[in-house]
């Protein structure tokens, strides 16, 4: 969807804050929010693609201005409210008015190490065979998707080349609506000159560049 999250290539953002201290967490509340997210099952039926879409749906001004882990808090709150697990009054007060959902007990401390090693695979061996092969020219869809998608706006309508086939992976557009469907995934190379008109002239030093994206088959057409 056209939202504030689709930031690639947007102009006149300022310098990158490169002098940040290198540490796992910069404050206690950030650490706790990060860890809470890893320790709970927030809502029956949730998945990572829906989680990402819920972040994209944060009010655009909040999305661009609130701290990163504050957005995680708001995602979890929205997941809980959407699924009927909690009410907004409970989220604000921190006090439970009703019992929690009938779920297995939460992750215990002794289970954390195993959870950190768990591999979640998104490829599906029984998915459809790829239509494109390495070296094929493809054009990314010119029209955006109404819901969650992983085709950034900056490649829409642009021509690239298939760099490699990645097998069939679960399609986020469908998974974010609760549908598990795999589709061939490709790494596609786009030249800077194709993506950024100014790279052809004014900003010539940025010309020797390219961007690789991992794109699903339905995002592409032959070029």
């Amino acid at each position: 969807m056209d939202g504030p999250h689709d930031l690639g290539g947007k102009r006149f953002f300022g310098p990158v804050a490169v002098d940040e201290p290198e540490e796992a967490f910069h404050s206690d509340w950030e650490a706790r929010m990060w860890a809470i997210d890893h320790a709970i099952e927030p809502a029956p039926g949730w998945n990572l693609d829906w989680w990402r879409h819920v972040r994209e749906l944060i009010d655009p001004v909040d999305y661009l201005t609130r701290p990163y882990f504050d957005q995680w808090m708001q995602i979890e709150a929205a997941l809980l409210i959407d699924s009927g697990v909690a009410t907004i009054d409970e989220i604000v007060s921190g006090k439970a008015a009703t019992a929690g959902p009938d779920l297995p007990p939460p992750l215990g401390p002794e289970e954390v190490r195993a959870a950190s090693k768990r591999l979640t695979r998104y490829d599906r061996a029984d998915g459809p065979a790829p239509q494109y092969k390495t070296g094929d020219a493809v054009r990314a869809n010119a029209v955006g998707a109404a819901g969650h998608t992983r085709l950034p706006a900056y490649v829409r309508g642009r021509v690239g080349r298939i760099e490699r086939q990645c097998g069939a992976h679960v399609l986020p557009d469908a998974k974010s609506r609760g549908i598990d469907r795999a589709e061939p995934l490709y790494t596609v190379r786009f030249e800077a000159e194709e993506l950024w008109p100014e790279a052809r002239a004014a900003d010539a030093k940025e010309r020797r560049a390219c961007v690789y994206l991992d794109l699903w088959e339905s995002y592409l057409e032959p070029a």
Partner: protein, 216 residues
């Protein structure tokens, strides 16, 4: 049950905007208390996750992988062919690394990793992502003006070098293998690993020569 209803969730976000306190620490504290009361969260598990990612899981792991690849051509080959299997040899697979790909810097190529749509990052091998990696500025600019972004990190890229930007739009995650610096012949894995910065494995650092000044 999850509704998968975008309009409904956008409305919930506006309600949250209107009713939550503005201070993030207060918001998170209330959420944590509520989840514990509902029986959905064990506080000791929160502590354990923080400890694990503070003490053990971090960029030192990636640095060890890179150092091994520099010293062992057979390992380097396995890392390029199947990075998930190669890091699993060291016990480093886990969060967000089921589909890992390693990309190599050379004299003529520099690689840079970004996630323009959210904040995808290979956690089990690099730890938690830096704030700048998740910030609007980096996400907006890395794909369009990578040389200008790299210059802000103190990295100058020659005009003859091709910059390859990897936008993590699917569940593949990327690890940059920096070039082994000159003057490190005969060094063992531990000594080499100490040269490998987190930023070099994202691509916002390039020259890892041991003598350089002002390194990040």
């Amino acid at each position: 049950m999850t509704t998968y209803d975008s309009k409904r969730v956008a409305h919930i976000h506006r309600e949250l905007h209107d009713h939550l306190p503005s201070e993030p620490a207060l918001r998170v504290k209330a959420l944590e208390s509520l989840l514990v009361e509902k029986g959905m969260l064990n506080r000791a598990a929160v502590d354990q996750w923080i400890e694990l990612y503070t003490e053990e899981i971090g960029p030192k792991r990636g640095a060890q992988v890179v150092a091994r690849a520099w010293n062992d051509p057979a390992y380097r080959k396995r890392l390029i062919e199947n990075a998930t299997a190669a890091i699993d040899e060291l016990g480093f697979t886990g969060n967000a690394t089921a589909h890992l790909r390693a990309v190599e810097n050379t004299t003529g190529v520099h690689n840079l990793v970004v996630c323009t749509l959210c904040s995808c990052y290979p956690y089990s091998i690099l730890g938690t992502a830096p704030t700048w990696y998740k910030a609007n500025e980096y996400r907006a600019r890395a794909v369009r003006e990578p040389r200008a972004v790299l210059a802000e990190f103190g990295v100058a890229i020659g005009d003859d070098v091709e910059v390859r930007v990897w936008d993590s739009t699917a569940e593949l995650r990327y690890l940059v293998i920096p070039e082994r610096p000159a003057g490190t012949e005969g060094w063992d894995e531990a000594r080499l690993a100490a040269l490998v910065t987190r930023n070099a494995m994202i691509g916002t650092d390039r020259d890892l020569a041991p003598a350089r000044k002002g390194s990040r």
